[in-house]
Symmetry: C2
Subunit: 148 residues, 2 copies
Amino acid sequence: MPSPHDFKLQDGTVVDHLPVGTAARALAILGLPREGPVTVGMNVPSTRYGHKDIIRVEHLELRKSETDRLALLGPHVTVAIVKGGRVADKLRLEVPERLVGVIRCTNPTCITNHERISPVFDRVAASPLQLRCAYCERFGSEPFPFIA
Amino acid sequence: MPSPHDFKLQDGTVVDHLPVGTAARALAILGLPREGPVTVGMNVPSTRYGHKDIIRVEHLELRKSETDRLALLGPHVTVAIVKGGRVADKLRLEVPERLVGVIRCTNPTCITNHERISPVFDRVAASPLQLRCAYCERFGSEPFPFIA
């Protein structure tokens, strides 16, 4: 195995336990690549769930708008904050009870697709995840269409 | 640093010393992700060239059509074949003297854009790379438009 290929994350963020196949969406949510090193694992072994995608980014602190979107990618996504090469904090992402301006409604007749209103979704169930449009009451379905 | 995140490549291929920013194009050339684990480094430190992109794929043998395209991404791209966790072979990619059906000609009046003829480019210089259309003699310019 050629080395050293794996840069050691000193200060940054690890988005872990992404479902296989969601890494590209996660990179898009985070606007990566930008400045600084990024490593991506796709379909790599996971002791917990068999396989996963994973992203590690140097010098990146996530905003709420980004973690809300990452939470929608899968039920087990975690974010670890790394400082000085060690895990300083770790949080399991949860979809908020209400999402405003995060995903679009797929109902072509919904008023949010005709007026300048931010789409609003309520989380009516957590596991499995169920999101319902607050305006027309249609349920969202995966893959959720993110608002950029 | 959470571990173990870096799967150890046992049998597969490492595409190394890609220029920063070319990993996405390299993944597209190789049709990744497919089956099996893939890790991608973007803008990671390189002892030789400062920074690089790198891709490691389990269970993948590259075809000539793929290595020809990868060679066009940068002047220092290497491919390492890994077997049993060790580097079995390593080659520095070179752009062939003639490319047939690999990149398109950007000259809208070139006959290759009007007739069903495979575009042909001659490598008239290696470093820096200069490719010239064999039909209309226009020089290709980066980023080269790959034929899928």
